[in-house]
């Protein structure tokens, strides 16, 4: 909803300078953050940024277009393996690995999207879920390339400046900003209008000249390429990957839950959802370790019962009700 408002009207009459200052302060804080953080918080901050990328990526296909994808883990894992294989062969530098992983995931998503985006609703959800499992099995069995169940060790990275932890933080930060930028540009473009029309009524969208199939494939490819890049950075960051880690089905569930938490189809909802979710998850793992696994379930149930439209939309509606 916010996205649609943002797309059709100029932002609320906040003074332009005010917005500029706000953005500059936020960016400054994000850039300066590593200076004041110990290793634990650096890891947490990098993780938050990574999940922001995954949540924003899911938002393209799941939020804007309304196709409930569970394919995030598939492309996160694909990107992680692409990056790991290229880096351990020592044929590319670190900074190139997320770019190539993204390009690879984009291409794969276009090819796979053509058949599975013909499916709607539950059928599409199941097909996208299967994708991750197929990729995981491939990584398991293609031992010559992927090391199979043994996984891949990545060569240690020697950062040009700063520490290794800082390098990965900044890499994730850049990727998160690219993802946010893509989200904003798409939400305001013709493509964004096409996405919203398809979500509301695909048949009527076709009738007004929207190439629904093409638009859906583009959305799916965006929501594959960006997690792919995140996967490549993640692989270098942790230094060792195996199929059950990077194709973890939980990532396919967490991303949509984060978006639902923050607000579907909005611009900042996914990031807010990711932050709330991860802070909550940290808290639970620290204080209620035995209960940690039940948490995702409780969040999902609470979301469905109390905030089916996400935090931003619930707040907006409450505000509208008071006005």
């Amino acid at each position: 909803m916010l996205a649609s408002l943002a797309a059709s009207f100029p932002a609320r009459p906040l003074p332009r300078i005010g917005v500029g200052v706000l953005i500059a302060v936020a960016l400054g804080l994000l850039i300066a953050l590593p200076l004041g953080l110990d290793n634990y918080y650096m890891r947490l901050a990098t993780t938050v940024l990574m999940y922001c990328v995954l949540a924003w990526s899911w938002n393209f296909i799941g939020g804007f277009v309304g196709y409930p994808s569970f394919g995030i883990a598939a492309f996160f894992g694909f990107g992680a393996y692409a990056g790991a294989i290229l880096l351990s062969a020592k044929i590319i530098p670190f900074w190139l690995s997320p770019i190539l992983a993204a390009a690879g995931c984009f291409a794969v998503a276009v090819v796979i999207g053509m058949p599975i985006l013909r499916l709607r609703g539950h059928y599409f959800a199941v097909a996208s879920l299967g994708l991750g499992e197929v990729f995981r099995e491939l990584a398991m069995s293609w031992t010559a390339l992927t090391g199979g169940g043994m996984g891949i060790n990545l060569p240690p990275m020697r950062p040009a400046f700063g520490t290794e932890a800082q390098t990965f933080y900044y890499a994730m930060l850049i990727l998160a900003l690219v993802t946010l930028g893509t989200t904003i540009v798409v939400a305001r473009s013709r493509l964004g209008v096409a996405f919203r029309c398809i979500r509301q009524n695909e048949e009527a969208a076709n009738m007004i000249g929207i190439d629904a199939t093409r638009s859906k494939i583009i959305a799916f490819a965006f929501s594959a390429a960006l997690p792919g890049a995140a996967g490549a950075i993640y692989a270098s960051w942790v230094g060792y990957i195996d199929p059950s880690d990077v194709f973890d089905i939980l990532n396919s569930v967490k991303a949509p839950v984060m978006v639902l938490l923050g607000g579907t189809g909005t611009i900042f909802g996914p990031a807010i959802g990711a932050l709330i979710y991860l802070v909550f998850e940290e808290f639970v793992t620290h204080h209620l370790l035995q209960f940690h696994a039940g948490m995702l379930g409780i969040i999902i149930v609470a979301l469905v019962l109390f905030m089916p439209h996400g935090l931003l939309e619930t707040l907006r509606r409450r505000k509208q009700g008071q006005a």
Partner: protein, 249 residues
């Protein structure tokens, strides 16, 4: 011989054993209002779905402005200048009236700039008398207003031919009169109109030509007065309705 803007040649659509549309050959002359009438289940909406590419032909050919269009995807057909309204209105509920019409202008209307699309959309909303409701969500409009929104959306596509599927059903007296005036003014501007209509008084007051479908087959086709005097038509369609009305009365 008038030039035909849309030509159907031997068009059929079978669903299993059911011949929903069977071997229909029909020319829609440019710049006129043609009524498509027939009893419920005669295949009128199926024919519109075939023309707009929503469902595929089982047999036959369709030509629009001299180019073959059967087999094209719906979005391509709509970009060529064929617009339709739905029997059950299909707005984008979470978008405002203006956003709905602007989207149509942007894609089928082929207006690249979003602000130009909105300007054009405003002029179309004004044309159907919906301008003051431009910021209202489509889901909050009344049925009559939604029908007018559907009209504005179709017009924003800059069509050469407009297919109206029971656009007047459910409208009350005043709204109906307005709709008739609007349709007539569109025809005067040179738009070709194919209208599916059940209300005979609308058919009589609007249509230059009539095509009558019965069990999926075209049983009559020609100038309105001539078709309404046709024996088959009276038997298959007008007579039945007339008898029903007599019994009800």
């Amino acid at each position: 011989m008038m030039t035909a803007i849309l030509e159907l040649r031997g068009v059929s659509r079978h669903f299993g054993g059911l011949r929903a549309v069977n071997d229909v050959t029909l020319s829609v002359p440019q710049g006129r209002i043609m009524g498509l009438i027939g009893p419920n289940g005669a295949g009128k909406t199926t024919l519109v779905n075939l023309i707009t590419g929503m469902i595929k032909l089982s047999a036959g050919e369709m030509w629009f402005k001299g180019a073959r269009i059967d087999g094209l995807a719906p979005h391509r057909i709509s970009r060529l200048g064929i617009a339709r309204t739905f029997q059950i209105v299909q707005p984008f509920p979470e978008m405002t009236a203006l956003e709905n019409v602007a989207a149509a202008a942007m894609f089928a209307g082929n207006i690249a700039s979003q602000s130009e699309a909105r300007d054009f959309a405003e002029s179309q909303l004004e044309r159907v008398g919906l301008l003051e409701l431009r910021s209202t969500l489509a889901s909050r409009l009344s049925l009559g207003q939604r029908k007018r929104l559907e009209f504005a959306k179709s017009l924003a596509m800059k069509p050469s031919i407009l297919l109206l599927d029971e656009v007047n059903a459910g409208l009350h007296g005043g709204e109906l009169a307005e709709a008739i005036t609007l349709i007539r003014s569109l025809a005067q501007d040179g738009l070709t109109i194919l209208i599916i209509e059940h209300l005979m008084k609308v058919v009589v007051s609007l249509c230059d030509d009539l095509a009558v479908l019965h069990h999926g087959e075209l049983i009559a086709n020609g100038p309105a007065q001539q078709v309404m005097g046709d024996e088959h038509v009276i038997k298959a369609y007008l007579g039945e309705r007339y008898l029903k009305r007599q019994r009800a009365g």
